[in-house]
């Protein structure tokens, strides 16, 4: 209701809170870069394992969704204009460049980002972070940096798996639903798709990974000391990440296209 009574105060407050969050995230990034070589390798390997394995099923599913949906949606046009030879290209191009990184980013933010926020926040609420500091273990080097690096490496690698599943499920959907043979689909895919389409998607995922880990860690570390706030923190962090993913996707698309 505030927006009706006093829009200027409302807009100002919103603006200040966004600036605070963005500033906090940038400060966290600076701190991570400063201490990046003091990383605990044991934690890194554990995080790589847990993040990679935890998100494997959901990435498989994402790839299948992307491939199937892309082929169905391109299929409407293919059937209308009878252009079977562009189906592989259509599904591969939009899937690799745009939809697969976007979906992998959103899924990753839901699975790993939300989990990260919840975990760090409950550590903060139960004063485990303070306990670490008393033991002269820096939470940034011990907890944040391993997660940061693990998320970035794993999202980039898992995008490759999602891309593979996209093509695999696309081939099967094309055969089952449109009756287009495997070799026509794959011929069209391999002859039109460029390696740059693939690498563009991977670069997008890389940047999404940086953002997901920073935002989720920021919200986790800034939890208030009550157990109820964790759920709402996770909600805010996921929403903020989704907005950021779309914004960055737009910026990267313009950079790569123009």
């Amino acid at each position: 209701m505030n927006i009706i009574y006093n829009p200027i105060i409302f807009i100002g407050n919103r603006f200040l809170s966004y600036i605070t969050v963005i500033g906090g995230i940038l400060l966290l990034l600076v701190e991570i870069i400063k201490k990046i070589f003091k990383i605990s390798y044991k934690e890194l390997i554990y995080e790589l394992y847990s993040i990679g394995v935890q998100s494997l099923p959901i990435i498989f599913m994402t790839g299948v969704f992307v491939g199937t949906i892309m082929v169905i949606q391109t299929g409407f046009y293919v059937r209308a204009y009878n252009i079977t030879e562009v189906l592989g290209w259509g599904a591969g191009f939009t899937g690799f460049r745009e939809v697969a990184p976007l979906m992998v980013g959103l899924m990753f933010s839901g699975r790993i980002g939300a989990n990260n926020t919840a975990e760090l926040a409950s550590m903060k609420v139960s004063e485990q972070l303070d306990a670490l500091e008393i033991l002269t273990i820096d939470p940034i080097t011990y907890l944040i940096i391993p997660r940061f690096i693990a998320i970035i490496i794993m999202i980039t690698l898992l995008t490759v798996i999602a891309d593979f599943m996209t093509i695999l499920s696309g081939v099967f959907t094309a055969k089952l639903l449109l009756g287009i043979d495997y070799h026509i689909f794959l011929d069209s895919f391999f002859s039109y798709i460029k390696i740059s389409d693939f690498t563009t998607g991977l670069m997008k995922s890389f940047v999404f990974g940086i953002m997901i880990s920073l935002i989720s860690s920021y919200y986790g570390l800034n939890a208030k000391r009550s157990s109820k706030s964790i759920g709402f923190l996770v909600n805010t962090s996921v929403v903020f990440t989704a907005t950021g993913i779309f914004l960055i996707d737009y910026i990267l698309t313009t950079i790569f296209e123009l």
């Binding site: 099923p57 959901i58 599913m61 994402t62 969704f65 199937t68 949906i69 169905i72 949606q73 299929g75 409407f76 046009y77 460049r97 745009e98 959103l106 899924m107 839901g110 699975r111 939300a114 989990n115 926020t117 919840a118 975990e119 926040a121 409950s122 609420v125 139960s126 639903l177 157990s227 109820k228 964790i230 759920g231 709402f232 996770v234 909600n235 996921v238 929403v239 989704a242 907005t243 779309f246 914004l247 996707d249 737009y250 698309t253 313009t254 296209e257």
Partner: protein
Amino acid sequence: MFIFKLLKDFALYLGGLLVYSQKHSDGIIRLLLKTIITSFTSKLRLKETIKQAYFIGYKTIPFISIIMGILGIILVTEFGMQGIKITGTATEVGGPYLQLIVRQFGPFITGMMLANRVSTSISAEISSMKITDQIDALKMNGADITQYLIVPRFIAGFFMIFILIIYAVLVAEISGAITAKHLFNVPYEVFINFQFVEKSDIIQGVVKSFAIGAFIPIIGVYSGLMSNEGSKSVGDSTTRAVVMGLSAVGMIDLVVGGAMFILT
């Protein structure tokens, strides 16, 4: 031998996953049916429903506006670039763009965003009620949880999400038209083109919207009710709600899209 062990582990893992997802989708559909029956047979808490509609509908408008605005810009930029590469102009982009927005991206992207926003907040609310024993207290007072908590959220979500998806399509179309005007010099009256949108596209969009609207609040409630003791479970339940919500939206899109493809 190592390979065999790995394969066996993977198969076990996959089987476990299937059992897990089967169990939960079963639970979600049961809860959905129970809620639908209860919403017809028992009295609706109107005040609570309006309050939920305010939270689900009004509060998410800024978020949806930003997301769909950016999506419109991205899609029109990509389409226009491809159009210029292939035909030399970007004037024909408008029709297929509107068709795709109505049929696919409007319900799908809005649904994913609402899975992030609405499912998680419902789940956080319900699970913090559950861990502080408020749900047991309600039950002790003889209140029916389905009628008291779930139905208002379900009714509010069902109608609000449908309206939000229509709004999202509008926002995407407007932002697309502005992008086309400024980037490719396509006039508004050429870009806004209803020729391509057929009855089947509208049916597809509407069916997807209603299905997403029914499932998102139910998934939030289901995931919230699943949580047990301890403050950690609130965070876990929100994470679970995001994953379940996003998967459900993908599944709905796939099933409805595939069915419409075969039927038309």
